[in-house]
Assembly symmetry: C2
Homo-oligomer: 366 residues x 2
């Protein structure tokens, strides 16, 4: 396993070194304020008793697990607080692959690149299934890819990078096929607070086979650096996940757990609605400019991203750099996400300068 | 891999449920104040710009890595900030075992139980080498255990649970034998600030083969719940460790990294010296009581623990519970640490009530 600096670092560094002002639409870091109660929670914790600075339970602060469980409608015994959704996905994939129930993990193409990276690290084989032209899950091909060799299927919905939100009946059909082949369904719902036009329906409600739902507060509370995530495991898989979590990390860090707990209790729906409103405005502004530029794209149903294809301007690294230098807009080359969208560029709408970027793109492609 | 609740939880719960006052000498959580600057660092961070709440570099905040590197006299490129020393040990063991250079990991008996747990999770075989009667490393048996099947040797010095500090020439002899058999030496030095009678000499100074030094601020800053640790890897192994770190955790949590950085910069040697003085006083009080009780023990050279054996009172779980109920002192049964000290009990000196516990033990065994 050799280290490759993630492609997005490379693009960000190129943009930072450019000889002009560049709007960074590369990475998925929210640019808005966290909940006020999150800052309060950190301040309060800073004055806590020394005993509160010591190991929390390995599976997370009991009050935080109960708060999560109550919100998600599950038993708190199923909740493990992890070092971000990244660790929760790792725990779920590790469990799937160590059961001797298949070596393949079915993923979509395009894909969030950490998924195939984890699969490969854990000794599994990633099986990539191209999504439909509009970015939605190609259900027929996905079901066909699930066999007795399948250890797990990972669905990321709302999806990075396509912006698709998979309908509940589609996710349920995948879960049923997984159950028929003793495969684990892993639903990474980290963008669940960013569905733009309808309430999000979680895979937690599915009553078929083994489903692990992973999530974190990185996006919903604008704190990607805090690393407070969680996995909700079927009762039969909790113990194995807890053991691996303990042996890898002992526990997730306690100060951010305390801050998130306070923020969960004290933050009303307005905070999250304001974030969705902001994102809707940005989607409108950006897609209008894409229309002006004659680009092909799908309006995202959720998450932070727009994939776009410009006529005669494929989404190669070379063209991503040209866009930085000549248009002053930095996006991610599509081939960072697999081969199915290699011609496309991904733009993250987590900058206050979306309108400016949109105007620059429209002018550049005029 | 099935989940077992760590034995120390079981003992702590039993003590908490006892019908009397019990001095908790079970777990290794410092009971003293963290550095004042650590609390300041958290408060300052709570008011930071939203951008400072987002992902730090995967390998840790650059300023923190540089601060660590300067203190340890290494290039900052070799430092990876991890979710505690626990993750650093996991990264090192994973690298050792995935190289196809042996499947055995040589450990001491008694042993910190997470080491064999990690080895087994990673598919390796733990090879336990009993320590000498006084708790020091049995060099001859350790060297004999290192063969071409050896992937790694883990040395924890100052040692939990024996309190031994391995002399530099002993560690160097192990490193040389490791080098001759393409094995990785992992030196877990998490108690390096708690050597009582001499300055600590780190394995970093060894110039033989591949040595990974792991450490954390959990003990030295009395913040076991913060999960800020690090590994210092040989240049040739840094990239693989960074990749696994990224794929498992993305990064360690940022608020505690910022707080530790501030505390490192602003905390003078007095803080650490006061902690050692406190520990020396506790060792004196506790070992005096062990003398009164006619117990066998070795005075610790470092770390927080005293292993003791009482005539006719072996360190079984049953006797640990009897000590809770009848003497009001909770210690760990020795067989939690392997078979070599199964007759002993481990007492952690991280309670302000060490003298009281000592008096209770002396009276109980009188």
């Amino acid at each position: 396993m050799e280290y490759e600096e993630p492609l997005f670092f490379h693009v960000i560094q190129y943009a930072a070194g450019a000889d002009r002002d560049v709007v960074n639409m590369v990475s998925g870091n929210p640019d808005w304020e966290p909940p006020a109660a999150l800052r309060e929670g950190l301040r309060t914790y800073a004055d806590a008793d020394p005993a509160d600075f010591q190991y929390p339970p390995s599976e997370g602060l009991a009050a935080l697990r109960e708060e999560i469980a109550a919100r998600r409608g599950v038993e708190s015994s199923r909740v493990i607080v992890t070092n971000g959704a990244g660790e929760a996905n790792y725990l779920a994939l590790a469990r799937a692959l160590e059961r001797d129930a298949g070596e393949e993990v079915v993923l979509t193409d395009p894909v969030y690149p950490y998924y195939p990276g984890k699969v490969s690290m854990l000794g599994g084989d990633a099986r990539m299934v191209p999504v439909a032209p509009d970015g939605s899950l190609d259900l027929e091909r996905t079901l066909a890819a699930i066999t007795d060799d399948t250890a797990a299927v990972v669905l990321n919905t709302p999806n990075n990078p396509t912006g698709a939100v998979y309908p509940p009946d589609v996710v349920e059909a995948v879960a049923e096929r997984c159950a028929a082949h003793d495969a684990l369904l892993i639903a990474d719902e980290v963008y669940d607070h960013f569905v733009l036009d309808a309430p999000f329906e979680s895979a937690l409600s599915i009553d078929a086979g083994d489903v692990v739902v992973t999530n974190s507060y990185s996006k919903s509370m604008a704190i990607t650096g805090f690393r407070v995530g969680y996995g909700i495991f079927p009762e039969s898989l909790v113990d194995a996940a807890k053991t691996r979590h303990m042996l890898v990390n002992v526990t997730a860090s306690r100060p951010p757990q305390a801050a998130v707990l306070h923020a969960l209790r004290e933050t009303g729906p307005d905070y999250y609605e304001a974030a969705r409103d902001r994102l809707r405005d940005r989607v409108d502004a950006f897609t209008a400019a894409l229309d002006d530029a004659g680009a092909e794209y799908t309006r995202p149903e959720g998450a932070f991203y727009v994939l776009a294809r410009f006529e005669g301007f494929p989404g190669t690294m070379e063209n991503a750099k040209r866009l930085i230098d000549e248009a002053g807009v930095a996006g991610m080359p599509g081939d960072a996400f697999g081969s199915a969208r290699a011609d496309w560029l991904r733009f993250a709408l987590v900058t206050p300068r979306v309108e400016e970027a949109a105007a620059r793109l429209a002018a550049f492609f005029d």
